[in-house]
């Protein structure tokens, strides 16, 4: 039964080993589920959030996974709309990673809200002026797009594909994938941007507040941009990790190179824009509210200028330089270091825009608010990681995620025999 489901021409580990790993990761997943149920049944008092930290680790996790899931929309845009054909060899995996990221984001949101059963009010009683409304709408719609993009992949399972209807459906969906991808890109642009707008419209929070154009603060564009830059980096990183674990080459290096190069240029331009934004904010926007630049980076046990250096120089400038140079991309070590840094950069950026925003005192007679998540928060944040690993394991085992896997395998075998 198991072997009948595995795609033709590829090798997978034994079913027993597979199940063993599923159980191990499943245990972590279960831990997360317990924490999730505690939050749902006992309420958010299970967390270490408080009235100063209404937004905390979960919102950071949300923003981070959505940024990293941005690889799906951007790769899709490049592949289907712009026509970078080589990327068809990685698009499936990008879609899968995106699907995991977005479903995780939705799940975390469902835990994070105080009244999960009323969550749908965000749609029904929508306030169109709220960035969060836009996020919710675009996020769910884009999740629908990802599902639509993921379905054909499921339908390509050896057994399902045998059903003519499913075969046809998959074929037809591939046929008009460009429309879905374009819609997805449109939606992503807005929700990534809206997530950027989420902190930046808070004009009562000078650390987060940014000026902008029309209704969109500058971070609206910066977030979209950084998602487009760091999302593909995450795809590359996960692909690399998968290759290491499976001890196989799954995607040809030229495909990775192309994606890395594009991501590199995105990251480079993003970093420049981010530097300009930071400079303007530090010298014009924040002082207008009476804040010195160092007010945001002193008198507290954690946040210092180092975090800015980490985000912009270490995780922005350095990976950009590596990725836009051919030598940098060619070195496997540098490439992986660069994508890792870029991913870290996106995470740090989202952290700063959520948690540091909450930490900075605005009233002169308050001091910094410090917070450490409870185990329930940590467990529910790790839950999606476990879920993602399991979904990847299953998808990799039973679905033809990597179109080049078979030929790469054959080549490898051939080379051994030469």
């Amino acid at each position: 039964m198991d072997s009948a489901l595995i795609p033709e021409g590829v090798k997978r580990c034994s079913f027993g080993k597979f199940i063993l790993w599923i159980i191990i990761v499943g245990a972590v997943l279960l831990w997360g589920v317990v924490a999730m149920l505690l939050c749902w049944f006992k309420g958010l008092n299970q967390t270490n959030m408080n009235d100063a930290y209404g937004f905390a680790m979960w919102i950071w996790a949300d923003l981070a996974v959505i940024a990293l899931g941005g690889g799906a929309f951007f790769t899709g845009l490049l592949r289907y709309v712009i026509g970078k054909d080589e990327l068809k060899n990685i698009i499936n995996y990008a879609v899968l990673i995106g699907f995991i990221c977005y479903s995780s984001a939705l799940l975390i949101l469902a835990i994070d809200i105080g009244q999960p059963l009323r969550g749908w009010f965000i749609f029904w009683h929508a306030n169109v002026h709220s960035m969060l409304t836009e996020v919710a709408f675009c996020l769910s719609c884009y999740f629908a797009v990802l599902t639509i993009e993921y379905i054909p992949l499921i339908l390509e399972n050896r057994q399902i594909d045998k059903v003519p209807f499913f075969h046809n459906l998959s074929h037809n969906m591939h046929g008009i994938m460009v429309i879905f991808a374009a819609t997805g890109a449109f939606l992503s642009f807005f929700h990534q941007g809206s997530l950027g707008g989420t902190p930046a419209v808070l004009y009562g929070r000078p650390f987060a507040f940014r000026e902008g154009v029309l209704i969109w603060p500058w971070t609206f564009f910066l977030f979209t941009w950084s998602a487009a830059a760091c999302g593909p980096c995450f795809t590359i990183l996960v692909t690399w990790i998968t290759e290491k674990i499976t001890r196989k080459k799954l995607v040809r290096q030229n495909v990775i190179m192309l994606l890395a190069k594009i991501a590199g240029w995105m990251l480079a331009t993003y970093t420049v824009a981010k530097i300009i934004d930071t400079w303007y904010w530090a010298t014009v926007t924040a002082p207008a509210s009476g804040f010195n630049f160092m007010d945001f980076y002193s008198n507290n046990p954690l946040y210092g200028p180092w975090i800015l250096v980490l985000e912009i120089v270490v995780c922005g400038v350095i990976p950009s330089l590596i990725l836009i140079t051919k030598t940098g991309r060619k070195s496997s070590f540098l490439l992986i270091s660069a994508v890792l840094l870029a991913v870290l950069g996106a995470c740090v950026n989202r952290w700063v825009m959520v948690l540091q925003v909450m930490a900075v005192p605005v009233l002169t007679f308050e001091s910094w608010f410090m917070y450490f998540p409870s185990w329930q928060e940590i467990a529910t944040t790790i839950l999606p990681v476990a879920y993602g690993i399991i979904l990847i394991m299953i998808s990799y085992r039973y679905l033809p995620i990597f179109p080049q896997e078979q030929e790469l395998e054959e080549e490898k075998n051939a080379s051994i025999f030469v």
Partner: protein, 271 residues
């Protein structure tokens, strides 16, 4: 200005708190809690999960003994007007659970609509919004004192000071029943104003030049209600939130503590 409100123009209810008179006694806090069915729990010493619609902050001037000075600042919801009702919290609420009432200038909160995303709390620089981390529990028998005018909130929603909006509604109903459209100044007063033993709180319509609040601060309603009384100030004036809660203090350090200033900046007193 004067003519406008005479013809039934919208009100803009606001509060003036005289910090020279405020003794930090806490009556306003308790008046608010008992008026608005605010719950309590065993340990309320973590002020970051303790629901106090009106919280009194204790400020010090930071000087050494015996130059030290302290001042209390009661902080209800500021009912920010922002820019034409674009208060920091209202525009961010995704479910329209909080709203700026243009008739009164009061920021409302609909508990049954709120689904607890807490975006409004992140938006509020005054920490005036509180989340119900727990189900409210009253010891057996104590639910007898709960007022039917304000519904007790359930776990998982945000709540905040409403300037005792139910009192406005009750006063309005009474006035309508008597065939009046306008409320007299003393007909609508918040619970904290009423209880303050020092008489430090004044409440009324900032659009009405006959009201005490207007006379006390002389708001420049063309510029977001900036106070023209040199002893009056608002918290975080520079953010443009345009609060409707004003403070009076004769002490410079207290007025300066109301806002942030960049290094070496001299406070520009409003003329």
């Amino acid at each position: 200005m004067k003519e406008e409100h005479k013809h039934g123009k919208a009100s803009k209810f606001g509060m003036v708190i005289d910090l020279d008179k405020c003794t930090g006694c806490g009556s306003c806090m308790v008046a608010c809690m008992s008026e608005n069915n605010v719950p309590f729990k065993k340990d309320e010493t973590n002020k970051l999960d303790s629901i106090t619609w009106l919280r009194i902050y204790k400020l010090t001037n930071g000087k050494k003994f015996p130059e030290t000075d302290i001042c209390y600042i009661p902080r209800p919801c500021m009912q920010c007007e922002g820019d034409h009702g674009h208060s920091p919290c209202v525009s961010v609420c995704p479910a329209t659970a909080t709203d700026y009432n243009h008739e009164t200038g009061i920021v409302s909160q609909i508990y049954t609509r709120c689904f607890g995303c807490r975006y409004c709390m992140a938006a509020c620089p005054y920490h005036a919004r509180y989340f119900n981390w727990w189900d409210p529990v009253w010891p057996d028998g104590m639910e007898k004192y709960l007022s039917p005018n304000v519904s007790p909130r359930m776990r998982g929603v945000v709540e905040k000071c409403s300037f005792c909006f139910h009192r406005y509604q009750l006063a309005k109903n009474k006035a309508y029943a008597q065939g009046r459209r306008e409320l007299k100044e003393d007909e609508y007063q918040t619970a904290c104003t009423q209880a303050c033993p020092a008489g430090a709180i004044t409440f009324g319509d900032l659009n009405n030049s006959h009201h005490a609040v207007y006379k006390l601060v002389k708001p420049d309603n063309k510029h977001g209600g900036r106070p023209r009384n040199p002893n009056a100030f608002r918290l975080l004036e520079r953010l443009g939130t345009n609060p409707k809660v004003y403070y009076l203090s004769s002490r410079e350090w207290v007025r300066r503590a109301g806002d942030n200033y960049i290094k070496d900046e001299v406070k520009k007193e409003h003329h």
